[in-house]
């Protein structure tokens, strides 16, 4: 086995260009004759646009034009759609608020764009934007999630600001379980609003070729084909074959770059309008205001247990803040990506969840690393830990008692999912061992000696990755399929160009996917190039989100590679004068079983393109495509254990140890997987201890810069202790599950369980800031 094959920690080939400043991001792209865009944004959370006087801007040297929502609608630019139709429990469709790319009559959140200023330079565009005189008539905003249904109505078609009231599970069975319960644990908590903060802000460079009527949009997208599809089919910017979307190097997404936003749309439109390429790069303030935010739930959750501590029922009521408009996948996050995960790792027989999605005058809320699953894990794992404390049972023992056992898979949960495989006991046991749980009491006592309070917290999470299968998802309201495409193009000299519909924005696909293909074809890793992120080069794709790339995109490549090998065998059989069934392929060689003849992969590739000794039944060339539609989700799971030490005098929480034992199935590149886990845990700890997107009562975002929005930094984090157990996925060819979000899913509950353990309190809202912890420590 080569040292670059599946399972090897190959160094990321893309890192050389990233760390030497040679990455090519959207803002690095410049077009001849290009002009610059700056957006006019609402300073009010809710206001009527009375008038926009751009005469001042027209006098600023270099300003080419100021355009508004009326200009876009005059050009028949459509609304930004939401890609998942969620139905309320009464069967009615969710209420979709019209979402024009640029607000036309009413603005609904601070930072909402209502105009675009295009100028010869960025400075001129800014100067122009400065002097546009817009008269607003302020309207009463609805800001708080708690009071959303009683507040002023945002949209005329949405009574009480309720987008949907969705349910999942069996209400009667669940209520019966509670009626018969020996013990009920109940918690009410919030899941704090987060702002994604990708290192690279969103950006777009659009050009329009008047001769061919083709648009080229270079933009920070996690899924350029989806962007093209939506801009064509819904926004009506241009037909799909006249629109090329390129997502070059992208500096982090965490979900926030899945969505089709107003700015990219308006910039593309403006390129046609002014007849010159238009460039826009968000500044950090704009990212805070106008990137889709994450989380923001209010939840009451109850767990019913019988006399033996077995979970009998789970009842969850959540109000989810959707923001002012539905972002591209906003509706699905607090429903199908949340309610379906509430079984966790447990055999809870009856579960019922109700989710009320509400509109408020805040930025749209959509998927952010984990998307629904961190919220679900938080509900389940905070409840389970609290139940253990109330019953004075060891939290690990209570979990063990309720785990789905390895021999119970496939396991049908009461909330729609069928887990294919898992071994929860294995990861818990490994995590207990690594965290030295047995000696925790001694460490706690030692902390107390020093005037500190020590706590330990568990989180046995499950996630569902590689959202699938398409047919089921579409039945449940998804507007797109959930497959992935892959193409393996063998060049005449035997090296390979791989095209994937997945997109890498930090995940290292150029390395991982090359490992998979080179391993399967038995050719050197260096001979495989991975192309992604360009609708002009890659046939189709649904992009990267929900930890789906290796499970879905990787599987598509395996499928295409299998076709290459099959065709290679037919060609080799002809060349070796045997039949394809008698040809074996391994380590890059085709071998005839009935003779000593062998052909290298390169020889067969060359023959395919220079077909002299070639089967007449075969087309020349060696290039294969595949679409892979998974049969089921994958279900990564694991145990995270956090240990914290709190200084009651300052309220500072020191995360002294963090153990993560994850089961991602087979692992292609352990180093990359570990890196993904590290990043996820950092973001999870960020949510638990530091990050909070806050709007004041008046609807102003008061955590709109790094002065007020606290990101996790290296000195907030311990050296993570990461390990893996392996239970291969049963239904994809690589046995992989996905690892991108696990850290962010598992960590918040582990940290908050540890913090509440240390403080001896039932609950504390996230983030557990020093002030909150200090107050709690004082009782």
């Amino acid at each position: 086995m080569s040292d670059t094959g599946i399972g090897k920690s190959v160094k990321r080939r893309e890192d050389l260009r990233f760390i030497t400043g040679r990455g090519r991001y959207t803002d690095d792209v410049n077009r001849p004759n290009q002009v610059y865009a700056v957006f006019l944004r609402s300073p009010y959370p809710r206001a009527r646009i009375v008038s926009i006087d751009a005469s001042g801007a027209d006098e600023v040297a270099g300003v080419i034009g100021v355009f508004t929502g009326k200009d876009l609608s005059a050009d028949k630019i459509g609304d930004l759609p939401c890609g998942w139709m969620v139905k309320s429990k009464d069967g009615s469709d969710m209420k979709i608020a019209p979402h024009p790319p640029l607000a036309v009559e009413v603005v609904n959140y601070v930072g909402e764009p209502y105009g675009i200023v295009v100028a010869e330079s960025l400075a001129a565009a800014r100067d122009g934007a400065e002097v546009v005189a817009t008269e607003f008539e302020e309207l009463t905003p609805t800001v708080s999630v708690a009071n959303a249904t009683a507040g002023a109505q945002l949209h005329t078609n949405v009574p009480d600001n309720v987008c949907y009231l969705w349910e999942l599970g069996d209400a009667d069975a669940t209520n019966a379980a509670f009626a018969a319960a020996a013990h009920v644990t109940k918690l009410t908590f919030s899941n704090n609003r987060l702002i994604p903060n990708a290192m690279e802000p969103r950006a777009a460079v659009a050009s329009f070729d008047a001769a061919t009527e083709e648009f080229t949009l270079v933009t920070t997208s996690q899924n350029p084909h989806l962007e093209r599809l939506i801009l064509s089919a819904f926004v009506q910017l241009a037909p799909e074959h006249k629109l090329r979307v390129i997502a070059p190097d992208v500096g982090g997404g965490f979900g926030s770059k899945i969505f089709v936003y107003a700015e990219e749309t308006a910039v593309a439109w403006a390129a046609r309008r002014v007849g010159r390429p238009v460039k826009w790069t968000a500044d950090r303030s704009e990212s805070f205001l106008a990137d889709a935010h994450g989380r923001d739930h209010l939840t009451t959750a109850e767990l019913a247990l019988d006399g033996d501590g077995l979970f009998q029922g789970l009842r969850v009521r959540t109000r989810a803040n959707l923001g002012a408009y539905l972002s591209t996948f906003a509706s699905s996050v607090p429903t199908y990506l949340y309610g379906t995960l509430l079984a966790g790792q447990y055999r809870t027989p009856a579960i019922h969840v109700e989710v009320e999605g509400v509109y408020t005058n805040t930025a749209p809320v959509d998927a952010y690393r984990g998307a629904g699953r961190p919220e679900a894990t938080y509900v389940v794992e905070r409840l389970v830990e609290t139940a253990a404390r109330e019953l004075k049972v060891d939290p690990a023992a209570l979990r063990r008692r309720n785990f789905i056992a390895p021999d119970q898979f496939p396991y049908q949960t009461p909330v729609a999912l069928e887990y294919d495989t898992g071994n929860y006991e294995a990861s818990l046991a490994a995590a207990l061992e690594k965290s030295d749980y047995a000696n925790f009491a001694a460490r706690k006592a030692a902390s107390e000696q020093r005037g500190k309070r020590r706590g330990i917290g568990f989180s046995c999470y499950i996630e569902a990755c590689g959202l699938a299968p398409s047919q089921l998802a579409i039945q449940l309201g998804a507007g797109v399929g959930l497959y992935e495409s892959g193409e393996v193009r063998v060049n005449p000299t035997g090296n390979v160009t791989v095209f994937t519909g997945s997109h890498s924005h930090g995940q290292g696909h150029e390395t991982t996917f090359a490992q998979v293909v080179s391993d399967k074809l038995g050719i050197p890793f260096e001979n495989v190039e991975v192309v992604h992120g360009d609708t002009g080069r890659v046939e189709f794709g649904l992009g990267t989100y929900g930890s789906r790339s290796i499970a879905v995109g990787g599987s598509a490549l395996v499928k295409a590679t299998d076709k290459i090998i099959a065709k290679g065998k037919r060609i080799a059989a002809h060349m070796m004068d045997t039949n394809a069934d008698s040809v074996d392929f391994s380590d890059g060689e085709f071998a005839a079983r009935d003779s000593n003849q062998k052909l290298t992969f390169g020889e067969v590739a060359f023959a395919a393109y220079v077909p002299s000794n070639y089967p007449s039944s075969e087309e020349p060339g060696l290039s294969e495509k595949a679409f892979y539609d998974p049969k089921n989700f994958t279900f990564p799971a694991g145990t995270h254990i956090a240990e914290v030490e709190i200084d009651p005098e300052t309220g500072v929480v020191d995360v002294v140890n963090f153990v993560a034992v994850d089961d991602f199935g087979r692992v292609i590149n352990p180093m990359i997987v570990e890196g993904q886990v590290h990043g996820g845990i950092a973001q999870g700890i960020g949510q638990a201890l530091l990050e909070h997107g806050i709007y004041d009562d008046g609807g102003q975002l008061i955590t709109g810069s790094y002065m007020d929005y606290c990101m996790p930094r290296a000195d907030d984090l311990p050296s993570f202790d990461v390990d893996m157990t392996v239970t291969p996925c049963t239904h994809n060819p690589l046995g992989v599950k996905g690892c991108g979000e696990a850290g962010a899913i598992g960590a918040p509950a582990a940290i908050m369980n540890a913090v509440t353990d240390a403080l001896g309190v039932v609950d504390l809202p996230m983030p557990a800031t020093p002030e909150r912890v200090w107050r709690a420590a004082r009782g």
């Binding site: 006019l40 944004r41 609402s42 300073p43 009010y44 601070v110 800014r126 934007a129 400065e130 002097v131 546009v132 005189a133 817009t134 303030s285 805070f288 205001l289 004041d696 008046g698 102003q700 975002l701 008061i702 709109g704 810069s705 002065m707 007020d708």
Partner: protein
């Protein structure tokens, strides 16, 4: 945002009142004021270039006076628009108390709110910035009317300083006692 302040101006109350109602005096005294015009008996419109932390812009202010009791007090209602920089709204209650026949005590109490970029990145800075703007204004205003004999009356900061000193003496005292106990 809430703020109060107090200034002693070295001219009689009537003169202060007249000056407060004179757009030219106001324009001279507001840092960055580009224009100040009376739009009605009880209203002014001003254009002021100002900087709050990283936010710099030209603000258009509509000022309306209500509850006018010459020459003792009025309420100033301000509606300030900064375009891309955001907006501010505020109400200032201003009262003038004669100090003998030669000086006047000016007290103000402001309540305000900001929005847009000012709120987003300037929230932490807004108190300090408006305090500085008020100080600058009254310093200039006092100098304009009575050069050299007006002053800001620093009440709260002085009090803090005093109690601070007090705390230090308590600590010194405790340390001394501890030293005596340990020595004995």
């Amino acid at each position: 945002m809430q703020q109060t302040g107090e200034y002693r101006i070295g001219v009689p109350r009537d003169a202060v009142w007249t000056a407060l109602n004179d757009p030219d005096v106001l324009a001279r005294c507001i840092e960055g004021c580009q224009s100040m015009v009376r739009t009605a008996d009880d209203a002014f419109a001003a254009s002021v270039k100002a900087k709050v932390g990283p936010v710099s812009a030209t603000f258009q202010a509509d000022l309306t006076l209500t509850d006018i009791c010459p020459p003792a007090s009025y309420t100033l209602n301000a509606n300030v628009k900064g375009g891309a920089a955001g907006f501010g709204k505020g109400v200032a209650r201003v009262s003038l108390v004669p100090e003998g026949t030669t000086a006047t005590l000016l007290r103000y109490q402001v309540e305000g709110q900001v929005g847009g970029k000012l709120a987003q990145v300037g929230q932490r800075l807004i108190d300090a910035a408006t305090r500085k703007m008020a100080d600058d204004f009254f310093a200039k205003f006092g100098d304009d009317l009575a050069p050299g004999i007006s002053e800001k009356i620093v009440t709260e900061p002085a009090a803090t300083e005093k109690s601070g000193r007090y705390v230090i003496w308590v600590i010194v005292f405790l340390v001394l006692i501890m030293a005596i106990v340990l020595a004995s």
